[in-house]
Protein backbone atom coordinates (compact mmCIF):
# COMPACT_ATOMS: atom_id res chain seq x y z
CA UNK A 1 0.00 0.00 0.00
CA UNK A 2 1.13 3.49 -0.62
CA UNK A 3 1.93 5.26 2.57
CA UNK A 4 0.39 8.60 3.25
CA UNK A 5 0.46 10.11 6.68
CA UNK A 6 -2.56 12.22 7.30
CA UNK A 7 -2.77 14.61 10.18
CA UNK A 8 -5.89 15.68 11.96
CA UNK A 9 -7.12 19.07 10.92
CA UNK A 10 -10.59 19.03 12.35
CA UNK A 11 -11.66 20.47 15.65
CA UNK A 12 -8.27 19.86 17.19
CA UNK A 13 -6.58 21.88 14.54
CA UNK A 14 -2.99 21.48 15.63
CA UNK A 15 -3.38 17.99 16.97
CA UNK A 16 -1.67 15.10 15.41
CA UNK A 17 -4.62 12.79 15.39
CA UNK A 18 -3.87 9.94 13.18
CA UNK A 19 -1.58 8.45 10.66
CA UNK A 20 -1.19 6.64 7.54
CA UNK A 21 -3.45 5.60 4.88
CA UNK A 22 -2.04 2.23 4.13
CA UNK A 23 -1.74 0.66 7.38
CA UNK A 24 1.32 2.40 8.74
CA UNK A 25 3.89 5.09 8.25
CA UNK A 26 7.17 4.20 6.57
CA UNK A 27 9.02 6.73 8.70
CA UNK A 28 10.34 3.77 10.67
CA UNK A 29 12.83 3.45 7.83
CA UNK A 30 15.66 5.89 7.35
CA UNK A 31 15.14 7.21 3.83
CA UNK A 32 18.46 9.04 4.01
CA UNK A 33 20.41 5.81 4.36
CA UNK A 34 20.76 3.14 1.70
CA UNK A 35 22.22 -0.27 2.40
CA UNK A 36 23.10 -2.89 -0.20
CA UNK A 37 22.45 -6.50 0.76
CA UNK A 38 23.65 -9.58 -1.10
CA UNK A 39 22.01 -12.86 -0.34
CA UNK A 40 19.55 -15.60 -1.11
CA UNK A 41 15.78 -15.27 -1.03
CA UNK A 42 14.41 -17.41 1.76
CA UNK A 43 10.79 -16.51 1.05
CA UNK A 44 8.86 -14.02 -1.05
CA UNK A 45 5.74 -13.35 0.98
CA UNK A 46 3.08 -12.02 -1.40
CA UNK A 47 0.71 -10.83 1.31
CA UNK A 48 -1.56 -7.95 2.20
CA UNK A 49 -1.18 -5.34 3.40
CA UNK A 50 2.51 -5.41 2.47
CA UNK A 51 4.72 -7.81 0.57
CA UNK A 52 7.97 -8.94 2.20
CA UNK A 53 11.22 -10.46 0.98
CA UNK A 54 12.79 -12.68 3.61
CA UNK A 55 16.44 -12.51 2.66
CA UNK A 56 19.34 -14.53 4.01
CA UNK A 57 21.90 -11.80 3.64
CA UNK A 58 25.58 -12.54 3.50
CA UNK A 59 27.40 -11.61 6.68
CA UNK A 60 30.34 -9.25 6.64
CA UNK A 61 33.88 -10.67 6.69
CA UNK A 62 32.76 -14.26 6.52
CA UNK A 63 30.15 -13.98 9.22
CA UNK A 64 27.15 -16.27 8.98
CA UNK A 65 24.20 -15.20 6.87
CA UNK A 66 21.39 -13.52 8.76
CA UNK A 67 17.70 -13.19 7.93
CA UNK A 68 16.41 -9.74 6.99
CA UNK A 69 12.78 -8.69 6.48
CA UNK A 70 12.51 -6.34 3.52
CA UNK A 71 9.16 -4.59 3.19
CA UNK A 72 7.57 -3.55 -0.08
CA UNK A 73 4.20 -2.05 -0.95
CA UNK A 74 0.98 -4.02 -1.47
CA UNK A 75 0.32 -6.81 -3.97
CA UNK A 76 -2.12 -4.45 -5.74
CA UNK A 77 0.48 -1.76 -6.33
CA UNK A 78 3.20 -4.26 -7.22
CA UNK A 79 0.93 -6.02 -9.70
CA UNK A 80 0.24 -2.71 -11.42
CA UNK A 81 4.02 -2.22 -11.65
CA UNK A 82 4.44 -5.60 -13.32
CA UNK A 83 5.41 -7.73 -10.33
CA UNK A 84 3.94 -11.18 -9.79
CA UNK A 85 3.96 -13.65 -6.90
CA UNK A 86 6.65 -15.55 -8.78
CA UNK A 87 8.87 -12.57 -9.51
CA UNK A 88 11.19 -13.80 -6.76
CA UNK A 89 11.55 -17.41 -5.69
CA UNK A 90 13.12 -19.14 -2.75
CA UNK A 91 16.76 -19.76 -3.55
CA UNK A 92 17.14 -16.79 -5.92
CA UNK A 93 20.43 -14.99 -5.45
CA UNK A 94 19.71 -11.27 -5.34
CA UNK A 95 21.26 -7.95 -4.50
CA UNK A 96 18.86 -5.51 -2.87
CA UNK A 97 19.16 -1.87 -1.94
CA UNK A 98 17.11 -0.94 1.12
CA UNK A 99 16.45 1.89 3.52
CA UNK A 100 17.26 0.33 6.91
CA UNK A 101 15.07 0.40 9.99
CA UNK A 102 16.09 3.25 12.23
CA UNK A 103 16.48 1.04 15.30
CA UNK A 104 19.18 -1.06 13.68
CA UNK A 105 17.28 -4.33 13.56
CA UNK A 106 17.57 -6.52 10.49
CA UNK A 107 14.90 -5.08 8.30
CA UNK A 108 14.29 -2.37 5.82
CA UNK A 109 12.23 -0.80 3.10
CA UNK A 110 12.78 -2.14 -0.38
CA UNK A 111 14.34 0.40 -2.74
CA UNK A 112 15.54 -1.62 -5.71
CA UNK A 113 17.03 -4.79 -7.05
CA UNK A 114 20.48 -4.63 -8.58
CA UNK A 115 21.03 -6.49 -11.81
CA UNK A 116 24.26 -8.43 -12.41
CA UNK A 117 25.60 -5.49 -14.45
CA UNK A 118 25.01 -3.15 -11.50
CA UNK A 119 21.89 -1.50 -12.87
CA UNK A 120 19.26 -0.73 -10.26
CA UNK A 121 15.84 -2.14 -11.10
CA UNK A 122 12.51 -0.85 -9.78
CA UNK A 123 13.83 2.57 -8.84
CA UNK A 124 11.01 5.10 -8.71
CA UNK A 125 11.62 7.97 -11.07
CA UNK A 126 12.82 11.05 -9.29
CA UNK A 127 13.14 9.32 -5.95
CA UNK A 128 16.77 8.25 -5.95
Amino acid sequence: MTRVVIFGVGAGLAMLLNAAYAHHSFAIFDAKQSVTLHGVVKEFRWTNPHVFIQLMADGEAGAAAAEWSIELTSPEHLARAGWKPGTLKSGDKVTLVIHPIRDGSKGGQFVSRVAPDGTQIDVPSGAE
Binding site: F26, A79, G126
Partner: protein
Protein backbone atom coordinates in the same frame (compact mmCIF):
# COMPACT_ATOMS: atom_id res chain seq x y z
CA UNK B 1 -55.23 -14.04 -43.32
CA UNK B 2 -55.64 -10.36 -42.58
CA UNK B 3 -56.72 -11.15 -39.02
CA UNK B 4 -53.68 -13.36 -38.49
CA UNK B 5 -51.38 -10.61 -39.77
CA UNK B 6 -52.97 -8.13 -37.40
CA UNK B 7 -52.45 -10.49 -34.51
CA UNK B 8 -48.80 -10.91 -35.45
CA UNK B 9 -48.28 -7.16 -35.62
CA UNK B 10 -49.97 -6.69 -32.27
CA UNK B 11 -47.77 -9.37 -30.75
CA UNK B 12 -44.67 -7.77 -32.22
CA UNK B 13 -45.67 -4.36 -30.90
CA UNK B 14 -46.30 -5.76 -27.46
CA UNK B 15 -42.94 -7.50 -27.54
CA UNK B 16 -41.09 -4.33 -28.65
CA UNK B 17 -42.56 -2.38 -25.81
CA UNK B 18 -41.70 -4.92 -23.16
CA UNK B 19 -39.85 -3.71 -20.07
CA UNK B 20 -36.95 -6.05 -20.78
CA UNK B 21 -36.44 -4.57 -24.22
CA UNK B 22 -36.58 -1.06 -22.90
CA UNK B 23 -34.00 -1.95 -20.25
CA UNK B 24 -31.80 -3.52 -22.92
CA UNK B 25 -31.96 -0.28 -24.89
CA UNK B 26 -31.07 1.62 -21.72
CA UNK B 27 -28.02 -0.59 -21.28
CA UNK B 28 -27.02 -0.01 -24.88
CA UNK B 29 -27.01 3.74 -24.37
CA UNK B 30 -24.49 3.52 -21.52
CA UNK B 31 -20.81 4.15 -22.27
CA UNK B 32 -18.29 1.34 -22.04
CA UNK B 33 -16.04 2.25 -19.12
CA UNK B 34 -14.95 -1.32 -18.42
CA UNK B 35 -11.48 -2.16 -17.20
CA UNK B 36 -9.39 -0.80 -14.36
CA UNK B 37 -8.62 2.89 -13.93
CA UNK B 38 -6.07 4.96 -12.06
CA UNK B 39 -5.64 8.67 -11.47
CA UNK B 40 -3.32 10.36 -13.95
CA UNK B 41 -0.37 11.74 -12.00
CA UNK B 42 -0.84 9.67 -8.83
CA UNK B 43 1.08 6.44 -9.42
CA UNK B 44 2.13 4.08 -6.63
CA UNK B 45 5.62 2.62 -6.74
CA UNK B 46 7.06 -0.67 -5.46
CA UNK B 47 8.51 0.96 -2.37
CA UNK B 48 5.26 2.15 -0.83
CA UNK B 49 5.41 5.70 -2.12
CA UNK B 50 4.59 7.40 -5.38
CA UNK B 51 6.37 7.64 -8.69
CA UNK B 52 5.66 11.37 -8.72
CA UNK B 53 7.49 13.63 -6.26
CA UNK B 54 5.33 15.44 -3.73
CA UNK B 55 5.93 18.81 -5.39
CA UNK B 56 4.67 17.48 -8.72
CA UNK B 57 1.47 16.14 -7.18
CA UNK B 58 0.91 19.34 -5.24
CA UNK B 59 1.52 21.54 -8.25
CA UNK B 60 -0.95 19.48 -10.24
CA UNK B 61 -3.60 20.15 -7.63
CA UNK B 62 -2.68 23.83 -7.21
CA UNK B 63 -3.65 24.30 -10.87
CA UNK B 64 -7.23 24.12 -9.67
CA UNK B 65 -6.70 27.49 -8.03
CA UNK B 66 -7.12 28.10 -4.31
CA UNK B 67 -10.29 27.06 -2.49
CA UNK B 68 -12.54 30.17 -2.27
CA UNK B 69 -12.47 30.32 1.50
CA UNK B 70 -14.28 32.84 3.61
CA UNK B 71 -11.64 35.05 5.27
CA UNK B 72 -12.00 33.52 8.73
CA UNK B 73 -11.87 29.99 7.31
CA UNK B 74 -8.83 30.92 5.23
CA UNK B 75 -6.95 31.87 8.37
CA UNK B 76 -7.82 28.59 10.04
CA UNK B 77 -6.87 26.65 6.93
CA UNK B 78 -3.51 28.42 6.59
CA UNK B 79 -2.65 27.54 10.16
CA UNK B 80 -3.71 23.92 9.65
CA UNK B 81 -1.76 23.61 6.41
CA UNK B 82 1.38 24.97 8.03
CA UNK B 83 1.01 22.59 10.94
CA UNK B 84 0.43 19.60 8.67
CA UNK B 85 3.51 20.55 6.67
CA UNK B 86 5.68 20.90 9.75
CA UNK B 87 4.55 17.69 11.40
CA UNK B 88 4.64 15.60 8.24
CA UNK B 89 8.16 16.70 7.41
CA UNK B 90 9.22 15.86 10.96
CA UNK B 91 7.54 12.47 10.73
CA UNK B 92 9.22 11.74 7.42
CA UNK B 93 12.58 12.69 8.92
CA UNK B 94 11.95 10.38 11.83
CA UNK B 95 12.18 13.27 14.29
CA UNK B 96 8.51 13.06 15.21
CA UNK B 97 6.37 10.01 15.73
CA UNK B 98 3.89 9.88 12.87
CA UNK B 99 0.97 9.35 15.15
CA UNK B 100 0.28 8.87 18.82
CA UNK B 101 -2.87 6.98 17.91
CA UNK B 102 -1.27 4.67 15.41
CA UNK B 103 -4.59 3.56 14.09
CA UNK B 104 -4.44 2.30 10.55
CA UNK B 105 -6.35 4.43 8.12
CA UNK B 106 -7.54 2.17 5.40
CA UNK B 107 -10.02 4.23 3.45
CA UNK B 108 -10.01 7.45 1.48
CA UNK B 109 -13.68 8.27 1.06
CA UNK B 110 -15.11 11.01 -1.11
CA UNK B 111 -13.59 13.15 -2.56
CA UNK B 112 -10.07 11.72 -2.05
CA UNK B 113 -10.94 8.53 -3.92
CA UNK B 114 -11.43 10.65 -7.01
CA UNK B 115 -8.72 13.25 -6.39
CA UNK B 116 -5.79 11.64 -4.60
CA UNK B 117 -5.86 7.90 -4.24
CA UNK B 118 -3.30 5.40 -5.48
CA UNK B 119 -6.01 2.73 -5.70
CA UNK B 120 -7.20 1.42 -9.03
CA UNK B 121 -10.94 1.13 -9.57
CA UNK B 122 -13.63 -0.26 -11.82
CA UNK B 123 -16.87 1.38 -12.92
CA UNK B 124 -19.90 -0.82 -13.42
CA UNK B 125 -22.78 0.94 -15.15
CA UNK B 126 -26.37 -0.17 -15.20
CA UNK B 127 -29.44 1.90 -16.02
CA UNK B 128 -30.41 2.05 -12.38
CA UNK B 129 -27.04 2.41 -10.67
CA UNK B 130 -23.37 3.00 -11.32
CA UNK B 131 -20.96 1.36 -8.88
CA UNK B 132 -17.37 2.45 -8.53
CA UNK B 133 -15.32 -0.32 -6.92
CA UNK B 134 -11.90 0.60 -5.57
CA UNK B 135 -9.07 -1.81 -4.81
CA UNK B 136 -9.15 -0.75 -1.18
CA UNK B 137 -12.63 -2.31 -1.15
CA UNK B 138 -14.42 0.99 -0.90
CA UNK B 139 -17.49 1.27 -3.13
CA UNK B 140 -19.37 4.30 -4.35
CA UNK B 141 -23.02 3.58 -5.14
CA UNK B 142 -24.55 6.15 -7.48
CA UNK B 143 -28.26 5.62 -8.01
CA UNK B 144 -29.47 6.74 -11.42
CA UNK B 145 -33.05 5.49 -11.22
CA UNK B 146 -34.49 8.93 -10.67
CA UNK B 147 -34.74 8.79 -6.90
CA UNK B 148 -34.05 11.84 -4.76
CA UNK B 149 -31.44 11.88 -2.01
CA UNK B 150 -32.19 9.75 1.01
CA UNK B 151 -34.53 11.64 3.37
CA UNK B 152 -32.75 13.50 6.17
CA UNK B 153 -34.35 11.38 8.86
CA UNK B 154 -32.81 8.26 7.33
CA UNK B 155 -29.41 9.72 6.50
CA UNK B 156 -26.16 9.91 8.43
CA UNK B 157 -22.69 11.06 7.44
CA UNK B 158 -20.38 8.48 5.90
CA UNK B 159 -17.03 8.58 4.14
CA UNK B 160 -18.78 8.14 0.78
CA UNK B 161 -21.90 10.20 1.34
CA UNK B 162 -25.24 9.76 -0.36
CA UNK B 163 -24.96 9.80 -4.15
CA UNK B 164 -27.60 10.05 -6.83
CA UNK B 165 -27.01 10.70 -10.50
CA UNK B 166 -28.31 10.85 -14.02
CA UNK B 167 -26.97 10.56 -17.53
CA UNK B 168 -26.68 13.53 -19.84
CA UNK B 169 -25.80 11.71 -23.05
CA UNK B 170 -22.54 9.92 -22.27
CA UNK B 171 -21.79 12.05 -19.21
CA UNK B 172 -22.58 10.75 -15.75
CA UNK B 173 -23.65 13.55 -13.42
CA UNK B 174 -23.28 12.70 -9.73
CA UNK B 175 -24.70 14.61 -6.79
CA UNK B 176 -23.25 13.70 -3.38
CA UNK B 177 -24.12 14.98 0.09
CA UNK B 178 -23.56 14.05 3.73
CA UNK B 179 -19.87 13.20 3.47
CA UNK B 180 -17.64 12.88 6.51
CA UNK B 181 -13.92 12.28 6.65
CA UNK B 182 -12.96 8.63 7.06
CA UNK B 183 -11.32 7.42 10.27
CA UNK B 184 -7.65 8.24 10.18
CA UNK B 185 -7.98 11.09 7.73
CA UNK B 186 -8.58 14.47 9.24
CA UNK B 187 -9.30 12.79 12.52
CA UNK B 188 -12.42 11.14 11.19
CA UNK B 189 -16.00 12.22 11.47
CA UNK B 190 -15.59 15.88 10.52
CA UNK B 191 -15.84 17.36 7.08
CA UNK B 192 -13.67 15.75 4.43
CA UNK B 193 -10.18 17.01 3.61
CA UNK B 194 -8.16 17.04 0.42
CA UNK B 195 -4.47 16.21 0.72
CA UNK B 196 -1.59 15.49 -1.60
CA UNK B 197 1.30 13.13 -1.09
CA UNK B 198 4.13 11.93 -3.26
CA UNK B 199 7.67 10.77 -3.62
CA UNK B 200 9.61 8.54 -1.33
CA UNK B 201 8.66 9.77 2.12
CA UNK B 202 5.74 10.40 4.40
CA UNK B 203 5.36 14.12 3.78
CA UNK B 204 1.94 15.37 2.73
CA UNK B 205 0.46 18.75 1.99
CA UNK B 206 -3.01 19.91 2.93
CA UNK B 207 -4.89 21.17 -0.11
CA UNK B 208 -8.34 21.91 1.32
CA UNK B 209 -10.53 21.37 4.33
CA UNK B 210 -14.27 21.09 3.79
CA UNK B 211 -17.22 21.31 6.14
CA UNK B 212 -19.86 18.72 6.86
CA UNK B 213 -22.23 20.85 4.75
CA UNK B 214 -20.22 20.21 1.60
CA UNK B 215 -22.02 19.17 -1.56
CA UNK B 216 -20.26 17.62 -4.56
CA UNK B 217 -21.44 17.67 -8.16
CA UNK B 218 -19.36 15.60 -10.56
CA UNK B 219 -19.53 15.28 -14.32
CA UNK B 220 -17.70 12.17 -15.53
CA UNK B 221 -17.17 11.56 -19.23
CA UNK B 222 -14.68 9.94 -21.57
CA UNK B 223 -12.34 12.23 -23.47
CA UNK B 224 -11.10 11.68 -26.99
CA UNK B 225 -7.72 10.50 -25.67
CA UNK B 226 -9.40 7.61 -23.86
CA UNK B 227 -9.05 9.17 -20.42
CA UNK B 228 -11.99 9.58 -18.12
CA UNK B 229 -12.45 13.06 -16.75
CA UNK B 230 -14.21 14.03 -13.53
CA UNK B 231 -15.11 17.72 -13.43
CA UNK B 232 -16.02 18.28 -9.81
CA UNK B 233 -17.81 21.28 -8.37
CA UNK B 234 -17.48 21.62 -4.61
CA UNK B 235 -20.19 23.68 -2.95
CA UNK B 236 -19.49 24.43 0.69
CA UNK B 237 -21.61 27.30 1.99
CA UNK B 238 -20.04 27.00 5.42
CA UNK B 239 -16.44 27.37 4.21
CA UNK B 240 -16.56 28.89 0.71
CA UNK B 241 -17.74 32.15 -0.80
CA UNK B 242 -18.38 30.45 -4.16
CA UNK B 243 -18.34 27.00 -5.75
CA UNK B 244 -14.86 25.55 -6.32
CA UNK B 245 -14.30 23.90 -9.69
CA UNK B 246 -11.62 21.21 -9.95
CA UNK B 247 -10.95 18.21 -12.15
CA UNK B 248 -9.06 14.95 -12.42
CA UNK B 249 -8.36 12.53 -15.25
CA UNK B 250 -8.03 8.76 -15.11
CA UNK B 251 -6.28 6.35 -17.42
CA UNK B 252 -6.67 2.63 -17.87
CA UNK B 253 -4.32 0.37 -15.92
CA UNK B 254 -2.20 -1.44 -18.48
CA UNK B 255 -0.11 -4.10 -16.71
CA UNK B 256 -2.92 -6.05 -15.11
CA UNK B 257 -6.44 -6.67 -16.39
CA UNK B 258 -8.25 -7.69 -13.24
CA UNK B 259 -9.07 -6.22 -9.88
CA UNK B 260 -6.64 -6.99 -7.08
CA UNK B 261 -7.80 -5.92 -3.66
CA UNK B 262 -5.86 -4.54 -0.76
CA UNK B 263 -6.51 -5.68 2.79
CA UNK B 264 -5.49 -3.51 5.68
CA UNK B 265 -6.23 -6.35 8.07
CA UNK B 266 -3.97 -8.86 6.39
CA UNK B 267 -0.74 -10.36 7.70
CA UNK B 268 0.30 -7.97 10.44
CA UNK B 269 4.05 -7.40 10.29
CA UNK B 270 4.17 -3.87 11.67
CA UNK B 271 3.18 -3.94 15.36
CA UNK B 272 3.52 -0.84 17.48
CA UNK B 273 6.28 -1.08 20.10
CA UNK B 274 6.94 1.81 22.46
CA UNK B 275 4.78 4.09 20.33
CA UNK B 276 6.47 3.32 17.05
CA UNK B 277 5.73 0.99 14.19
CA UNK B 278 8.21 -1.87 13.92
CA UNK B 279 8.87 -4.77 11.57
CA UNK B 280 8.13 -8.21 12.97
CA UNK B 281 9.46 -11.53 11.68
CA UNK B 282 7.14 -13.57 9.49
CA UNK B 283 4.63 -15.79 11.26
CA UNK B 284 5.75 -19.36 11.73
CA UNK B 285 4.11 -21.92 9.48
CA UNK B 286 1.28 -23.80 11.19
Amino acid sequence: MRAALALLLMAAAAHAASPSDERARSFARLPNWSGQWEIVGVTPDAQGGFVQPLDEVVQGMRKWGPPPYKPDVQAVFDKAAAEVHKRSVAAADGTDAPSPGLRPACSFGVPLLMLFSPLMFEILTTPEETAMIFSGREIRHIYTDGRPHTPKDDLWPTSWGDSIGHWEGQTLVIDTIDVSSPPGIGGGGGGPVIVAGGGDNDAVELIATLSSEVHFIERIRMLENGHLEDRMTIIDPQNFTAPWHISRQYTRVTRINRMVHEDCEGEERNPVVDGRFTVAPPPKAQ
